[in-house]
C-alpha cells in the first residue's frame, strides 16, 4: 500500500511546500523590519514540515531519526539564545541581553544589533519545538498499530 494521502494532495504539497518554507524564513529574517518575527515565522516553518509529513507519510524508524534531530536543534537553539543574553554581560554595557552590536540605520536588513540574531534563534527554537510535538504524536500513533 502506498503511504500518505492521495496524489492530488501530494502534488499540491510539492507545489506550495517550498513557498511556505521561504515565507517562514522571510518572516524570521525581516522580523525587525515588518510584522512577523521569530515566533510567527518559526510556526510557519514548522507548518511546512508538518505538511510534508502529513501528505507523504514516512517510515517510523526514519521519523524517529528526524525527531531526534529536531529535538537536538530545539535544545541547541535555546542554549544559543541564552548564550546571546549572557554575552551581553561580557561585552559592551555589561547588562543581560545588552544590545552590544552596531544598531545601524533603522530599516536596513543588517541593523538593530542583536535583534535579528535573537529572531533567528527563537525562530529555529519554535519551529523545532512544534515539529517535535507533532512528530511525537505521529510516532505514538504508529507505535500503537
Amino acid at each position: 500500500m502506498e503511504r500518505g494521502m492521495t496524489s492530488i494532495v501530494k502534488t499540491t504539497t510539492r507545489l506550495i511546500c517550498g513557498v511556505v518554507f521561504i515565507f517562514g524564513l522571510y518572516l524570521i529574517v525581516h522580523g525587525h523590519l515588518s510584522p512577523g518575527g521569530g515566533f510567527a515565522g518559526g510556526t510557519v516553518m514548522a507548518g511546512a514540515f508538518i505538511l510534508l509529513v502529513l501528505a507523504f507519510g514516512d517510515d517510523i524508524r526514519h521519523l524517529r531519526i528526524i525527531e531526534e534531530g529536531s529535538s537536538t536543534l530545539e535544545n541547541l537553539a535555546i542554549l544559543l539564545f541564552l548564550l546571546l543574553g549572557v554575552s551581553g554581560m561580557a561585552i559592551g554595557a555589561g547588562v543581560f541581553f545588552g544590545n552590544y552590536l552596531e544598531t545601524g540605520q533603522a530599516g536596513d536588513l543588517l541593523s538593530a544589533g542583536i535583534i535579528p540574531v535573537g529572531n533567528i534563534l527563537i525562530g529555529i527554537e519554535v519551529a523545532a519545538a512544534l515539529f517535535t510535538v507533532f512528530l511525537a504524536f505521529v510516532i505514538f500513533k504508529e507505535e500503537e498499530q
Partner: protein, 185 residues
C-alpha cells in the same frame, strides 16, 4: 468598528459555547477554531498585524495537533447528564446544579466588578500609555529596529522572551515524557 467587533465577539462566544456542549470532540475542536480566527480578525481591525500573524499560524498548528490528539484518544465527549435515571426513578444530579449556581454567582460578581473597572478607564480606543510612551518615542532610535514590536520583544523585554521560549521547551519535554512512558509499556 465597535459594532463589527461586537458581532465578531458574539460569534466567538457562540463558538466557545458550542465547543463546550458538542458531543463529538472533533467538531468541538473545529468550532473552537471560530474563537481563534475571530480573534485574528479582531487583531487586524485593532491594527495589530504582528499579533494577527502569530495568532493565525498558532491557531492552524494547534488545530492540527488537537486533531492528532483526538485520533489517538477517544472521540466522544464523556460529560455527565443533569438527570440520572436509576431503576425507573429520575434523580437530579446535584453536581450539575451546584455548577449552575456557581456559574450564575460568578457571572454576576464579574459583571459587577467589570462595570466598576470600566468606569475608571479611558474610553474605547484611547490608551493610557504612561509606560509605553517612552518605548514608542525612543524605541526606534535606541534599538535601531524599524518594527517596534521586535525592538521591545528582543531588546527591552528580552528576558520575557527567554521565559516564553523556556515555557515552550518545558511543554515539549513534558509531551515527550508522557508519550514515551505510555508507548514503552
Amino acid at each position: 468598528m465597535e459594532v463589527l467587533l461586537a458581532i465578531i465577539i458574539i460569534l466567538m462566544i457562540a463558538g466557545s459555547i458550542y465547543t463546550l456542549h458538542a458531543r463529538d470532540l472533533l467538531s468541538a475542536v473545529i468550532s473552537y477554531g471560530i474563537t481563534g480566527f475571530g480573534l485574528v480578525i479582531c487583531f487586524l481591525l485593532l491594527r495589530a498585524p504582528d499579533l494577527a500573524i502569530a495568532q493565525i499560524v498558532v491557531e492552524i498548528i494547534t488545530l492540527i495537533i488537537m486533531i492528532a490528539v483526538i485520533r489517538i484518544s477517544v472521540r466522544e465527549d464523556l460529560t455527565e447528564r443533569s438527570t440520572i435515571r436509576v431503576a425507573g426513578v429520575r434523580y437530579i444530579n446535584m453536581r450539575s446544579v451546584s455548577f449552575f449556581v456557581a456559574g450564575i454567582v460568578f457571572m454576576a460578581a464579574l459583571l459587577f466588578f467589570f462595570i466598576q473597572a470600566t468606569a475608571l478607564l479611558d474610553p474605547f480606543g484611547v490608551h493610557s500609555i504612561r509606560m509605553a510612551a517612552a518605548y514608542m518615542e525612543q524605541g526606534a532610535g535606541l534599538t535601531g529596529s524599524a518594527n517596534l514590536v521586535a525592538g521591545v520583544l528582543f531588546d527591552f523585554r528580552a528576558y520575557d522572551t527567554l521565559g516564553e521560549a523556556t515555557i515552550l521547551i518545558t511543554a515539549v519535554i513534558g509531551i515527550l515524557t508522557v508519550l514515551r512512558l505510555k508507548g514503552r509499556k
